[in-house]
Symmetry: C2
Subunit: 198 residues, 2 copies
DNA sequence: GTCTATATCTGGATAGAC
DNA sequence: GTCTATCCAGATATAGAC
């Protein structure tokens, strides 16, 4: 809450992002043009674009804001906390839709979402992997598990499930993630089991 | 190879799809308008649209054609064969890009890709799951594995990895899928291992 | 900082001739 | 079946006034 125009600008920006978040959540991605967004925010198209250079940059900012709120809401032990975020996201399909569209668009290195996605993958897997290593050190997790690979899989699986869930909501994303983790994290080291089943 | 205008129309359609496949593979999705496509095919825009009602329907037809050729090229035991398809797809990023865009767009039930995706999920998981059950009956796979869930996970993981790989080609999709399968398919039934690690 | 107005303009879809 | 020509819609981005 700084004073002066600089602080106010930032504050206004956050207000706009909040409104955009709500609008996309309610209307979905495809139904949302910057005109719609501007109206929902109570601003003109030009006024909106004053804060974010382009539609795509605005969308990326919205995703960043969601990540922020997801992270703030996360708590508890590592794998469960991440599953919890997915469960939480499932209440807001519009934002998942936005994410999948941005993820597809981010294949182009010049797209504003490209850097965002790279950063998200890096931070996400680093955090997840670190949490797993701590579990290993505490003896709560099999030491032979490749934590980096597991983290990469988790995010790919979560993203893939989300994309599919939008099309076919019959699947239970959180349950599948839990099921995956339960089975995948089982101890498979040589000491813990015979080489062959009897 | 039927005779008459009907057969010829179908044949022409296939030619067009082949050309479209190559063009998208080479240029990527975003760079491909129907005008570009028409040019590559050696047809006018109107002529192209005579065969496919709209851009989206054409794209879906392209995906169907790729599936067809993937399936024709697949061979060998179930999980490995599917990984092989992913490995093969990795040589054609443009088509993966097309797929991820269509997957995102398919969230809208009115989009032509919606039905395609639903069908693909259904056929894919059915086939994968059936193959796993056969392995179980042959005693090659732990009987306690939920084959439907495993199949759903496989496709979600593969799709998620592909979307990420487009943005960050440093990951090895096929290796991660194999690693997943190897660990996930391990026998975890009570007979095969002690309850707790020593 | 915000609005109005406008510049483009890309691109998909259509109509009708040949 | 294929082409030409055109239309039209929708959307973004920009310029300049207040």
């Amino acid at each position: 809450m700084k004073r002066g125009p600089y602080g106010k600008g930032i504050e206004r920006r956050e207000q706009i992002l909040d409104a955009a978040l709500r609008t996309i959540a309610a209307r979905g991605y495809s139904a949302t043009s910057i005109a719609e967004l501007a109206e929902a925010v109570g601003l003109s198209q030009g006024g909106l674009l004053h804060y974010f250079g382009s539609k795509e940059e605005l969308f990326v900012a919205v995703l960043r804001k969601r990540d922020q709120s997801d992270l703030a809401a996360a708590h508890g032990p590592a794998p469960a906390a991440f599953v919890e975020i997915v469960r939480r996201n499932a209440t807001v399909p519009g934002l998942i839709e936005l994410f999948t569209h941005m993820q597809a668009a981010a294949a182009d290195p010049r797209h504003p979402a490209h850097h965002y996605m790279l950063e998200r993958y890096r931070l996400g897997t680093e955090g997840f992997s670190r949490a797993l290593r701590e579990m290993q050190e505490a003896g709560e997790l099999s030491a032979d598990l490749d934590t980096d690979a597991a983290a990469t899989m988790f995010f790919a699986l979560a993203d893939g499930l989300q994309a599919r869930w939008l099309i076919d909501p019959s699947i239970d994303m959180a349950a599948l993630l839990e099921q995956w983790w339960q089975r995948y994290s089982e101890d498979t080291s040589i000491n813990s089991r015979p080489a062959k089943r009897i």
